[in-house]
Amino acid sequence: MPVDTKRLRGPEESQSPWLFVEQEQQSPPDEREDGRRKGQVDVRPIFARCGLVSQAKGSAYIESGKTKVICSVYGPRETERKDETDMKFGRLVCTFRFAPFSCAKRCGWIQSTQEKDLSMALLGSLHPGLCLHRYPRSQIDVSVLVLENDGSALAHAVTCASLALADAGIEMYDLVLGCSLRQEGSDYLLDPTFAEETQEPATESTENRGGMMVALLPSLNQVSGLLCSGDLEQQPLVEAVAACIEGCQRIYSVAQRCLLTAVKKKNPPPDG
């Protein structure tokens, strides 16, 4: 492992105090801690606002429960390295990062495999929503930073990024909204918290457990991103996708309203 000479380093090795705390084995409660119901399309209230980063072409900030995500969009700017497709279509570049203090255990500065994978998933989810043919020879950069991860980080990152893109005035076919779900046996938990995402099962059986993220183009009713892992039978899986789609539709109005406010704040109504 090469040493990182570009940052101040602490001791060679340090451990999170959580490693020394006796974890009490608790069976997951019947009710969700925040009072939401299992098996219901019950998303946390969302606070969304555009245009907070003055330097960016467009930006958005989303807070849902304790999860906090910020996103900036830069460009269209000149593509750094070009190939034939860049001559006709713009290039979308997505970076997804967790702030070092955003998770229960501190994460490092160097982009992890997980962050790379999530960047890829973010790219795949946003790509279908953009009119990239309007931006030949150019590149649009989307960077997402999770300030606090209390579950469903990728889903909120997708929503946040699409708001930032719309705020930047990038032409889009539709907004892109994200929603996560956690399947626990016969029940599902929509928009799970970090504790719900990571809790150990009550029983050894791993049947029908898993996590899922769906990205939706709400007015075209098209799924632009789907990422799911776990152990799922076909029926619960299909139901979970449907629940996520409904979850996305639930946050559409918040996203719309956020953009309307941003447009009115940024620009006066045109004359004539």
Partner: protein, 228 residues
């Protein structure tokens, strides 16, 4: 090019009290590859500098109205870290203010500093050697500059040009770069806490000490060009 031993031909001073600089000396043009070079010795602290340029510049670093200045500081042992990067910034921005970079647009000037030994007052030694190397390279400059370090000990006494041991035992260490035209503060880097009065006192002492370094610059240039 003959490589002279470090003190040959170099001027030496000997001072007794704390309010004096340690012996210092310099040799210019000691490296054959760079366009300009100098080594500066302050007590046991020694730094060698090589300058390349004005030379071709990478497109990404090109600026249309002036030369791009790059400073690389190599520690005595190990890889350069964040502390070196911070010192590089100090040296680069001081040089940028002194060099007339606008005369060489779309070029690059690279300064490479190698620490040979650190026995205190390293940053000032780096600045002095950089200035001597820039003179050796024949780069156009708006003014000369010199670096002077002083330390404030626990009793509030100000020690000029401290050794590493003195630095460690003192409450604060201040390094200034002084310009040769107005004798004003070009650069300031401080460690430890001190009062405003101590700050001004330190500047005054360093400004005074700068006179002897500038005189030394003048002498060495005079000697060099009277020879040929």
């Amino acid at each position: 090019m003959v490589c002279l031993p470090l003190d040959a031909g170099a001027h030496k001073f000997r001072h007794m009290a704390d309010r004096r600089l340690r012996e210092f000396g310099c040799e210019q043009n000691l490296l054959s590859r760079p366009d300009g070079s100098a080594s500066f010795v302050q007590g046991d602290t020694t730094v060698v500098v090589g300058i390349y340029g004005p030379a071709e510049v990478k497109v990404s670093k090109e600026s249309y109205d002036r030369a791009t200045l790059e400073v690389i500081l190599k520690p005595k042992v190990g890889l350069p870290g964040v502390a070196e990067r911070s010192r590089e910034q100090f040296i680069r921005e001081t040089c940028e203010a002194a060099l007339l970079t606008a005369l060489h647009p779309r070029t690059s000037i690279v300064l490479i500093l190698q620490v040979i030994h650190d026995d205190g007052s390293l940053l000032s030694c780096c600045l002095n050697s950089a200035c001597m190397a820039a003179m050796d390279a024949g780069l156009n400059m708006r003014c000369l500059f010199c670096g002077v370090t002083c330390a404030i000990d626990l009793d509030g006494n100000i020690i000029l040009d401290p050794t590493a041991k003195q630095e460690k035992e003192s409450r604060a260490v201040l390094t200034f770069a002084i310009d040769s035209v107005e004798r004003q503060v070009m650069m300031s880097s401080t460690k430890g806490a001190f009062t405003t009065a101590e700050f001004h006192q330190s500047i005054a002492i360093c400004q005074k000490a700068a006179e002897s370094i500038f005189q030394f610059y003048r002498d060495s240039v005079g000697r060099r060009y009277s020879k040929s």
